[in-house]
Symmetry: C2
Subunit: 553 residues, 2 copies
Amino acid sequence: MFIPMLMAQCSEKQGEKWLPLCENLIVIGTYAQTELGHGTFVRGLETTATYDPQTEQFIINSPTLTSTKWWPGNLGKTTNHAVVLAQLYTGGKCHGIHAFIVQHRDMETHQPLPGVEVGDIGPKFGYEAVDNGFLRYHNVRIPRDNMLMRYSEVTKDGRYIRKANEKLTYGTMVFVRSAIVSTAAKNLGEACTIAIRYSAVRRQSEMKPGEPEPQVLDYQTQQHKLFPLLATSYAYWFAGRSMRETYLDIQGQIMAGDFKRLPELHALSAGLKAMSTWATNEGIETCRLSCGGHGYSHASGLPKIYVDATPACTYEGENTVMMLQTARYLMKACGQAAQGNELPGFVAYLNQKGVDRCMIGDDLSLVSLVSAYQHRARRLIGKAALQMKAHMERGQPQEVAWNLASVQLVHCAKAHVQCYVLKNFVDSIEQYGHHEDVARVLTQLCQLFAVDGILNNAGDFLQGGFMSYDQLDNMTAKLLDLLAAIRPNAVALVDAFDFSDHLLQSVLGRYDGNVYENMLEWAKSSPLNDTQVHDSYYQYMQPFLKEMHKSKL
Amino acid sequence: MFIPMLMAQCSEKQGEKWLPLCENLIVIGTYAQTELGHGTFVRGLETTATYDPQTEQFIINSPTLTSTKWWPGNLGKTTNHAVVLAQLYTGGKCHGIHAFIVQHRDMETHQPLPGVEVGDIGPKFGYEAVDNGFLRYHNVRIPRDNMLMRYSEVTKDGRYIRKANEKLTYGTMVFVRSAIVSTAAKNLGEACTIAIRYSAVRRQSEMKPGEPEPQVLDYQTQQHKLFPLLATSYAYWFAGRSMRETYLDIQGQIMAGDFKRLPELHALSAGLKAMSTWATNEGIETCRLSCGGHGYSHASGLPKIYVDATPACTYEGENTVMMLQTARYLMKACGQAAQGNELPGFVAYLNQKGVDRCMIGDDLSLVSLVSAYQHRARRLIGKAALQMKAHMERGQPQEVAWNLASVQLVHCAKAHVQCYVLKNFVDSIEQYGHHEDVARVLTQLCQLFAVDGILNNAGDFLQGGFMSYDQLDNMTAKLLDLLAAIRPNAVALVDAFDFSDHLLQSVLGRYDGNVYENMLEWAKSSPLNDTQVHDSYYQYMQPFLKEMHKSKL
C-alpha cells in the first residue's frame, strides 16, 4: 500500500524523488493509517504533524496511547519508511488528516531512529506470516517536503493551501473495493470447489437399505448448504467484474473533473464490499462444516481460506460502516426521488412505481424476480426514510435519528445491494451466456440465488401482501427443484472456476478425486511422524509413568 | 473418552480388571470410533473383529484404506490402548458394531506393536495441542475377554448372545449432549463478555458533532449484533441445564428398564446439540467481527474460543444428521397425534389446536410469544409430514421421500427446538427470577430472543395470515425498544456469567476495562520484539538489499 498511497497523494516533483528510491529498494515502505484507538473513522486519528516554520520541518508525535500506529503490514520488523496519516497543525490550527513520509529505521543498521518506538503487534488469527507492527513517534522531525502535496500544501512560512478536489481519491476507493468483491467471490468459489468435489467423492449412510452408500452430494440437505453458495460466488464474481468495468468506463470523466456518476458508484461499492465479504465469511465456514471432520484438518485447505478471507470484513472500511455509507446515499436519493428528480443508473428504480403484486410464477422469469427485489428495496428504503423523519419530528437531532434508525438503514442497504447483484447477474447472463446450455445453467444459478434470498427474507416480500402465501410456498418447491436441477452440473460448475490443485492446496478438493490415499500420505508427512516414538515420550511421559508406579508400590 | 466408554460397555468382571490398570496409568487409552471413511454413520464403520474359536482370540483388521481409524484424541503419539469399535464376525456372520480393547503400543518401549500402524493425522484448525491420530491393524490378535461384554457376548465356542437393552446407551448420549449444549452456551457467553465489555470501552466516530466519541455499545447496530447473542447464550444455558436435570430425574426409570420418556428426550437432545453449537459457531464470529481489527488479534481471546468451540458442530453427531434425528421423532409424534394419541412432555403441544391468530400485542406477553412459536412448529411439522406423504403417494420409496423432504424436515426440527428453548426460557424465569429486577431483565432478554427469532423467520409466522403485517412491523419496533432497554444492563449481564480474566485470556475483555495499555504491553511481549532488529534482517534482508544495489550500479 506504500507505493499506491504515495502515488495517489504526492505531487509530481515528490513522485520524481521518492519513486526511484522505492524502485531501487532503498526505501522499503508501509502505509500507516490505523491506530490503536481508531480504524475506519479516519477523522479520529490522533497522530500529529505540527509545522515549525523556523526549521521548515514537521514534528511528528504520538500524543496519546491510542494514537499508536497499529496493524500496518511489514511495519514491525521489515520497513524503514511509512506514509503516515496525521492531523496537520500549522499556525496553531488543525487542518485535518494529511499524509507524510516518515522514516522509522536507519538505512544502514536497520535500528529504530531516535524518537521512534516500533515493533510487532503479536500473533493473529491467520496472517501469521504478515509482519503487522506498531509505531510511536516522540518529536520526530521531517523536512517540509515530506508532506504529500497533491491535494494541499503548507508553504515555507506555514500557510495552508488546499489545491485539488479530494473526490479523486473516491475513484481509487471504488477500484480497490471492486477488487475486494472479486477476491471475496474467488475465495468463496475456492471453498465451494473443495466442498462440492469432496461431496462427490464422500459416500455416507444409507439412502435405500442394502444399496451402496450414496455420494453426500445427493443428499438434499448437502445441496441446500452448498448450491446457494455456489450461486452466490458466481453472483459476486459478476458484480465485482461489472463494478471494475463501470469504474474504468467513467475513469476518464473523473480525471476530467466530472464526478457526476461517482457518488452512486462509490455508495454501491461500499455496500457490495460489505455484502460480498460477509457472504464469503459465512459461506466458507458452511463449506468447511459440510465436509464433516475432515473439514477441520489443514489437509482440507479450508481453514486457511477462511483466515485469509475473513479480514476483508474489517479492512478497507468496517462492513457495518460501509452499509451505512450506502444507506446515506440511498436516503439522499430517496429524498430526490420524492421531489420528482430523476435518479441515475443504479438507483433509477427508485423513480419507478413498480408492480403492486409479485409476478413471480412457475417459470421463475428473471424479469419477475428482479422486479420483486426492486419492490422490496424500494419499500425498505422508503420505510427507513420515514423512520428517520418520524424520529426527527419527535424532536431528535438528525444524528440521533440516524442512530435510532440504523438497524433499518443497514437492512435497506442490504436490499439495495442484493437487488443490484441480482439485476447484474441477469445482465451478465445476456453478456456471457451465448451458448444455450451455458445460458440455461447460469439461469438456474441465478434463479437459485434469487429464490434462496426470497426465502431467507420472506417477511420482506410478503409484507403488505406483495407476495401471496401460495407464491411463498411455491418458492420452497422451486428451491428444491433447482437443487435437483443443478446437481448434475455442480462439479462442472466448480471445475469451471479452473482453480489449480496448486492454488487450492486441498487434499479434499483434488481435481482427480483421489482423496483418501492422499489424506493418509499427507498425514504421514507430519513431522510428528518422523519417529515412531516421539522425543516427548522419553523426556516427559516415561519418567512420569515410572515415578507414578514407584509411588504406588 | 476411553474410561467412560469402557465403563459404559464392559461387564462387571471386565471393569474389575481394566479400571485399576487405567487408574495406575499402566493402560493409557483412547476411544477409537471414527474412521477415515465414516463418522456419524457408525453402522458404516469398516474395521473388523473376527472371532477365532481355535485360539479364543479376535483378529482385528483394517481391511480397506477408509477403515483407518482417524481423529481419536491422544491416539497418535501418547496412548498404548484403545477401545475400538469394529464389525464383529463370528461363524462367518456379521453381528454389527461392538467394542474391543486393543493394545497398540508396547508398555516398555512405547513402540507400535507388530501389525499396528499408528501416527499423527497432521495439523488442524485449532486443537493444535491435541494428539489426534490414525491407526491401522493388520491381523492383530486380542484375547476373547477384550470384547466389552455388557450388552452382548461371544462364547468360547463362538456363539453370539445379545444380553441387555442397548437403549441404556441412549441415556448416556442425552447426558453427553446436555453437556455440549451447556458448553456451547458458555462459549457464546465468553465471546459476548469480551465483545460487550470491549464495546463499552471502545469509543469511535461521532454521533453528535463536537461531542466526545460515543462508546460503540451505544450504536444501535452494535446492540443489534450483540444483544440477541447474549439472549441466545442465556437461552441455551437454561436449556442445557434443564435437559441435564430432566435426564437425572428419569435416570432411575431408565436404569430400571422403563424407557418411556427416553425417545422424546433423546430426540430433543439431538436437535438442541445441533442448534446450540450452530448458534455458538456463528455467534462467536459475530462477536469477533464486532470488535473491529482488534478482534483478529489473539489478544482478544476470540479466535481461540472459536477454534475450540467449532468442532462441537461435528463431533458427537454431525449437526444436520442430528436435526434429522429430531425430525424423525417429530414425524412419528405427528402420526400418533393424527391418530388421536396423547403425546408426552416436549411434544404435547402437537396435540393442541392452538390459536388461529397470533396474539402478540404491545406487552409482548411471554404466553403469546410461546404460543406463536408453537403454532409455527406445529404448522411446519405438519407440512413436512404432508410433504413426505405426497412424495410417497407419487410412488417414491420412503427413504427417497425422506431425502426429498429433508430440507423441510430440518426446518421443522429447528422450529421445534426453538419452541422448546423459548418455552424453557420462560419457565426458567419463573424458577430463577425471584427478585423482581432479575425477573424484569430476564424477561427482556427472553422477549428479545423471541422477537429476534420471529424477525429472522418472518415468513413462517406470516404464512397463512397467522401474524398480521402490522404485528410484524411492530416486531421491528419492539426489537429496537428492547435493545435500548437492555443497553444499561448489558455489561452487568455479562459480568453475571462470572468468567474470570484468567479463564477469558482476553486483553479486550478485561474486567477492569484497561484495554489499550495492556494491548501495548501484550504486543511488546511478542518474541519478535526481543531484539530491535530481527535476525532475519541480517540473514536475508541485508544481503539481498546489498546484492540488489550492487546489480543496479
